[in-house]
Subunit: 144 residues, 2 copies
DNA sequence: TATTGTTATACTCTATAACTATA
DNA sequence: TATAGTTATAGAGTATAACAATA
């Protein structure tokens, strides 16, 4: 599975290295906006889901424990980028929705992340990036 | 509902998710051996490099700061899995080399990691895994 | 002066368990 | 009782700065 050329060619090792390189770069690009890669992802999910995404759904889709979502949403909520609205149908759920400010910050964040990504993905064609996306998706959801 | 082509299909996001899924699984597989994915990588590099790898080289190849290598090597050294030998040619360098015990533990670790990987990569052909390796390598070393 | 390894510190991320409120 | 969110805590990972030994 690994080890044609040893640990340096191990897919798990390369995944970790590539993820680290990109995340570091994205964190730097987002720092002026007061975002990190995690809070950025939460903001985008809040923008994309209508009429909002529950914290449980966020935890599931981000691969995190629900307890880790709390602080991320707290931060965005305190900055008026998202709101926590109790779901009328089930008051245990809290629907996370982006505010107008949230959408505006997302637009700026998307531009910065796209620039950061460009330097890392420039040697890959759009078709290759599609293949890459598909394969990563299969690794993440291998058991479904 | 989620938008398609949104953050869930972002290559950086998928890299982070896939890396997390695999690392979690590998950490669990290595736990009985007292290894984690980081110390496992150090052990493998120590096994593969002749006549040893310096801590600076380890930091470079693993994408870490040299200060982070110290504790990793300390741990392996205290368990007699690797040795720190001053390089006669330049006594600032310390060559990290695996002991016989280190090589033995590596063999067992390799088996466990291969099993852990199998469940995540089973839907990908050997050719696809080669493509994946190549693309990840290009992302990591895009600026070289 | 420059480089290798080291220590120290602060912050972020990860993993678990236990609690509350709603159902 | 079961589920969603929350709090708390300990451990692992990340990022910098400064220092001693060696070149």
């Amino acid at each position: 599975m690994a080890a044609n050329g040893g640990i340096a060619d191990d897919v798990g090792f390369l995944l970790s290295r590539a993820s680290g390189v990109v995340a570091r770069s994205v964190n730097k690009a987002l720092a002026p906006l007061g975002l990190r890669v995690r809070s950025y992802s939460v903001l985008l999910f809040a923008c994309e889901w209508t009429p909002g995404i529950t914290q449980r759904q966020l935890a599931s889709v981000m691969g995190l424990d629900p307890s880790q979502i709390v602080a991320l949403v707290d931060d965005l909520e305190q900055r008026d980028l998202v709101t926590r609205m109790p779901d009328p149908a089930d008051r245990r759920n809290k629907l996370i929705t982006a505010t107008d400010e949230g959408y505006q910050l997302r637009d700026e964040a998307l531009r910065r992340v796209e620039d950061a990504h460009a330097s890392h993905f420039e040697h890959l064609s759009p078709a290759q990036l599609d293949d890459l996306r598909r394969m990563l998706h299969q690794i993440v959801f291998a058991d479904e």
